[in-house]
């Protein structure tokens, strides 16, 4: 009891951890009973989660013990790579090569700028590559930007494909490509930032955010935990804003050539 009051973390012995898998068992039983043919998928998901987290746990322990800027950057690149791949796979229509390039550029530029801005100016991290801070914060910023960009690119690509006549009708009146696509671009941008805005509204009342919960569980003073949470939300907002703004601005341009002709670059 004393140790808890002192803010120490309660250890979870391996055997007790196994008890937690009881919930997976319940799910499997329900699925089997109801004839929903998804047991394999559930077992696979639980197994994947376990293996992935164990590996990450060991990896992080190793990295935290010997911080190195090269390794931190390597991890950043790997995270960006997975995020970009995820965006491209998630969008319902095949993206053109140019659009894929735009996705990479906006993701990289937006997240890297925000990440360093955040780590150096808000947290004041020294050395800048200290992985205990760098990696989880990069993960949150990249993960949220990934969701934002996925929504934005999905809307942008589908709307332009669905209604090119409206864009051409504006061009016929003398509009520039930017003017002709303004409505679509604005809506794509709004769709991208909406989840972040919504989660800010519900935060603290409807749910306690994961990072803050984690910090509180590991003994951090709630008032410090909320400071981190507020700061990281701002960082996420900044990154989602920047990445999707770049995406929308550059993305629209991939549909036009230098003669301002609407092209469908299905290359």
């Amino acid at each position: 009891m004393d140790s808890i009051a002192n803010g120490e973390v309660i250890d979870i012995p391996l055997l007790q951890l196994l008890i937690a898998y009881f919930f997976v068992l319940i799910l499997i039983l329900i699925v089997r009973k109801q004839g929903i043919d998804k047991e394999k998928q559930i077992i696979l998901a639980a197994t994947r989660m376990t293996i992935q987290l164990v590996l990450v746990g060991f990896l992080l322990e190793y990295i935290f013990e010997m911080p190195h800027p090269g390794i931190t950057l390597l991890i950043l690149i790997v995270m960006e790579g997975f995020a970009i791949q995820n965006i491209i796979a998630r969008v319902s229509t095949e993206l053109s090569f140019k659009m894929k390039k735009v996705t990479v550029i906006s993701m990289a530029a937006g997240t890297v700028f925000t990440l360093f801005f955040f780590l150096l100016l808000v947290i004041g991290l020294t050395p800048w590559y200290y992985p205990r801070y760098f990696i989880p914060i990069a993960g949150m910023i990249i993960g949220n930007s990934m969701t934002g960009i996925s929504l934005g690119v999905e809307y942008l690509v589908n709307q332009i494909k669905k209604d090119p006549q409206k864009i051409e009708a504006a061009l016929m009146l003398g509009a520039s490509p930017q003017q002709a696509t303004k409505k679509v671009a604005n809506q794509a941008f709004y769709n991208s930032i909406l989840p972040t805005i919504n989660s800010m509204v519900g935060m603290g009342i409807i749910f306690l955010p994961g990072m803050m919960t984690g910090q509180i569980l590991s003994g951090v003073d709630p008032l410090l935990a909320i400071r981190y949470q507020i700061a990281i939300m701002m960082g996420i907002l900044g990154s989602v804003t920047l990445t999707t703004f770049i995406l929308v601005k550059l993305g629209v341009r991939t549909y036009f050539n230098e003669r301002m002709q609407l092209t469908f670059n299905d290359d």
Binding site: M172, G174, R259
Partner: protein
Amino acid sequence: MYKLKDIAYKDILAIKELTLGHEKITSISGPSGGGKTTLLRLLINFISPDRGKIYLKDKALENYPPLELRQQVKMLGQNPIMFGNTIEEEFEMAAEFARQRGYAKKQYQNLLARVNLNKELTASSTELSGGEKQRVALARLLLLQPEILLLDEPTASLDTENEKHILHYLADYALEEECRIIMVTHSPELTNSIADQQIIIAEGSLKEDYHGFDS
């Protein structure tokens, strides 16, 4: 105004030589799928010919800065597309797209009257019938007073009475505003009564180029 020299676009259209737009009104007719709309799209530089060149005022289209070209040449597509919620917004959007501001509501109302559309400016533009939308789209375009107007079947959804009215108005407009009109038409017998040059395009090539209307 326009000169086409040995142009071809995919296997849709091929024209050895053609001048058009020198006279006030040019009509383009011919069976559907023959390449008429493609010709208009080439003229406003929405597409570029695979070979050959198109000149406007002796300058090749590709040498015009795109926005400068589309400042002079404007087009009305076959399906009228509404941008705003009200008729007034349609005019405002057109003015914004063309970067020409400072019009008065009175001008919108005058244009509506001239295209024979008895509607308030506050009326919803999305709930209009096809023919009404077509007239709003035309009025919106005429507000901008381009030098050259490309119209793709501007009277397609109109009844005969309104069609006659619009065609006569266009003839007056071309005269008053010093504007050249090149229009694709589905009813050449009506349009030719006001056209100075009549072009027939079929199966992707020029079948007839007739100058000779005198008023």
